[in-house]
């Protein structure tokens, strides 16, 4: 912290929406940003609780912005507000709590995320279903709150506890233990107890019905309803997509052999088959010998061509490929979204996806 010429006080800037800033309710949601000196609304409670926690803080300014105005002009608002907030030279910025107010949550997250990347500690608080949580939990410490303002006292208490740690420059290694949403950041460290001992202890808790916490939560996967069956293959366009890493020789897009950050789109125009000269595998998660020898073993162009002629469906002249090897679910989801949009745009009615 920088406490020169401040009488040792920590300086806090507080961000609130039009409601908590005392401007008005939904009818004032298009209120442009402005600043007030000192604490406003929940800021007074924040300041009080900070002081009760033996942190000598001062809320030097409260920044207020209408919820609709923020989300409709996010770029402009951030461009104006971030330097303004920095001008107060804050040791910490607190936004919200936003509870389950979606636009407010997006605003709090946006402000904190921008400040964090400039090295200014910033915290906020929201209800778990606030869209701001999904959007910003990875970059911002977000305290979990109740879904409405009746949870103010508890939210402020948790924010103050977290805020004091941040003011003191403590690293927050376990966001959950601080009442925050997990950030999905994995850090390696040495645990006093070997994994085998921890696993057995966890198993025993499970057997006896005691609560236990997994050390490795499984990501949540979407489910989609099955598409209706295709009545007739004649005349429809079928595309091939693979996570098996089949790329043109030389891997022109440099798709990574593991933890892929991209996919490629490659022409099949005029190709009746793939062979060791034209294509190769870029995948680092299996022995490539057989795929390099005959890439049709992963991306079956040769027999697709034969079946096309026999059954009367049309070829899609492009295929998409990535490497499915430790690829993050987030990246995979992003690839799938982009690929699906293009395939639909290009009139493809069915896809065969091959995976190693």
């Amino acid at each position: 912290m920088s406490d020169a010429s401040r009488n040792g006080k920590y300086r806090i800037v507080h961000y609130v929406n039009q409601f908590f800033g005392g401007v008005g309710g939904e009818e004032k949601a298009d209120c442009e940003p402005f600043t007030k000196q000192g604490p406003q609304g929940p800021g007074r409670l924040l300041e009080k609780r900070f002081r009760e926690g033996n942190a000598d803080v001062e809320i030097v300014a409260t920044v207020v912005c209408g919820d609709s105005y923020f989300v409709e002009h996010q770029e402009d608002v951030l461009r104006d507000l971030i330097p303004l907030i920095r001008g107060y030279d804050p040791d910490l910025v607190v936004a919200g709590p936003a509870f389950n107010a979606g636009r407010y949550g997006m605003a709090c997250g946006g402000i904190c995320s921008s400040l964090q990347s400039l090295g200014i500690p910033a915290i906020t608080a929201m209800f778990k279903e606030n869209p701001g949580v999904d959007q910003y939990r990875k970059t911002v410490l977000i305290v979990e709150t109740a879904n409405n303002v009746t949870g103010m006292e508890e939210a402020v208490r948790k924010m103050v506890r977290l805020g004091i740690k941040r003011l003191r420059g403590e690293e927050i290694e376990f966001p959950k233990a601080e009442g925050c949403f997990e950030q999905g950041i994995r850090k390696n460290y040495f645990h006093a107890e070997p994994a085998s001992g921890r696993a057995i202890a966890m198993l025993l808790r499970k057997i006896t019905g005691d609560p236990f916490e997994t050390e490795y939560p499984i990501p949540f996967f979407d489910r989609v309803d099955p598409r209706p069956a295709i009545a007739d293959l004649k005349g429809i366009t079928i595309a091939l997509v693979t996570s098996g890493g089949i790329v043109p020789t030389g891997n022109p897009d440099h798709i990574e052999s593991s933890s892929a950050s991209k996919y490629g789109k490659y022409s099949l125009d005029g190709l009746e088959t793939l062979d060791a000269r034209t294509h190769q595998s870029a995948h680092g998660g299996y022995d490539n010998t057989y795929a390099n020898e005959d890439p049709n073993r992963v991306l079956p162009i040769d027999e697709m061509r034969v079946l096309e002629k026999e059954l009367g469906f049309k070829r899609h002249p492009w295929y998409y490929a990535t490497v499915g090897n430790g690829t993050s679910v987030d990246n995979a989801r992003k690839f799938a979204k982009e690929i699906a949009v293009e395939l639909i745009r290009d009139g493809v009615q069915a896809v065969i996806l091959t995976s190693t």
Partner: protein, 65 residues
């Protein structure tokens, strides 16, 4: 979409609906131990199974083995 894949459980976990089990991880649509003509036949049959899966009405995740 039909998913031809070597590890069925992964396909089920990520939510594919029409799943066709493949041959092996390094050669899902081939088998280097077979003579070329038989290997092509194997590949052709897997593709036909995937095409049939696309033409089959299903209620939920289905493995077409």
């Amino acid at each position: 979409m039909a998913h031809i894949c070597s590890i069925i459980t992964i396909s089920q976990t990520v939510g594919a609906n029409r799943i066709v089990p493949a041959v092996a991880i390094p050669h899902p649509l081939g088998n280097p131990r077979l003579p070329p003509a038989e290997e092509k036949e194997l590949r052709r049959n897997l593709l036909k199974k995937a095409l049939a899966a696309l033409q089959t009405p299903i209620e939920g995740q289905t493995v077409f083995s």
